[in-house]
């Protein structure tokens, strides 16, 4: 498994595509977490199962946790859950790449 993360619009999808032609891609995992929360599904349990079932997946996501803790409980829960889900994916990955300005930095 591989993970590409970064701030919004930093080019993580493009880099993931370039470095992994033909792979099974899952883009914007943070948005997946948001919709799971809306559906009442535990994002961490879902992500854990996903990782076991897709060991070859290439996942991309935005980093969403580096702002002031939001006042709204739902937004707080989203950021926390998105972070935990990415920790889970990263633990399953051989490589994790953080992308900024289109440039990837291999952090695992």
């Amino acid at each position: 498994m591989k993970l590409y993360i970064g701030g919004a619009y930093q080019g993580q999808e493009e880099l993931a595509g370039r470095e992994n032609p033909g792979a099974e891609f899952f883009f914007a995992w943070h948005e997946k977490v948001r919709s799971l929360l809306e559906e009442g599904v535990d994002p961490l349990a879902y992500t854990e199962t996903f990782c076991k079932e897709h060991p070859q997946a290439v996942v991309t996501a935005d980093e969403v946790g580096c702002g002031l803790v939001p006042m709204e409980a739902r937004e707080r829960a989203f950021r926390e859950a998105a972070g935990r889900a990415l920790c889970c994916i990263a633990a399953h990955c051989d490589t994790v790449t953080r992308v900024s300005c289109g440039i990837g930095m291999r952090i695992k």
Binding site: E63, G65, C66, R79, G83, C87, I89, A91, K108
Partner: protein, 169 residues
């Protein structure tokens, strides 16, 4: 050794800090909890952190401000979690933020190992009211001081330590 761990929400800072505890030789291992808990959300958070460190043999001290008043043996390891809550205690919980930097230096000098967990809350481009801005500025000042004091500084990213200074034990 002084270690500073920063990172965003849910980035795995606590788990990373706790993973370092068994690697550092110390007498008493003190978990210094600075969050003043009241609501259900913070109690849940505390519950998760308690489970995470159940096996680490740490004693918990709860103190959201005035850290100079904490008794710390010379051979102790202190894991302070976290700086943003400590600042909130000093600023909004009846403390005094002016004593934070001296207290930080004192604490660093009083124990054998100090592990500081802080937060990176500075990247959302938000414009806040004056009180919040002064909180952010004060937190950044403590983080900078801690970064200068620390032997090792890292950012937790998806649970991975990205080194900013020095090396982790």
């Amino acid at each position: 050794m002084i270690i500073l761990i920063t990172g965003g929400s849910g980035s795995g800072k606590s788990a990373l800090a706790e993973s370092l505890v068994p690697r550092l030789a110390a007498g008493r291992r003190i978990y210094l909890a600075t969050m003043a808990a009241g609501d259900r959300e913070s109690l849940q958070r505390i519950g998760r952190h308690r489970r995470q460190r159940a096996s680490l043999g740490m004693v918990t001290a709860e103190r959201s401000c005035d850290l100079d008043g904490l008794e710390v043996p010379e051979d102790a390891l202190v894991l302070l979690e976290d700086v943003p809550n400590w600042l909130a205690g000093e600023m909004f919980g009846g403390g005094d933020e002016a004593r934070m930097l001296p207290a930080l230096r004192n604490l660093a000098g009083r124990c054998r190992h100090l592990l500081l967990v802080t937060g990176d809350v500075f990247r959302d481009g938000g414009q806040y009211d004056a009180e919040t801005e002064s909180y952010l500025e004060a937190l950044a000042a403590v983080n900078r001081e801690a970064g200068a004091l620390a032997d090792a500084v890292c950012e937790a990213v998806c649970g991975i330590p990205v080194m900013l200074k020095g090396k982790l034990p």
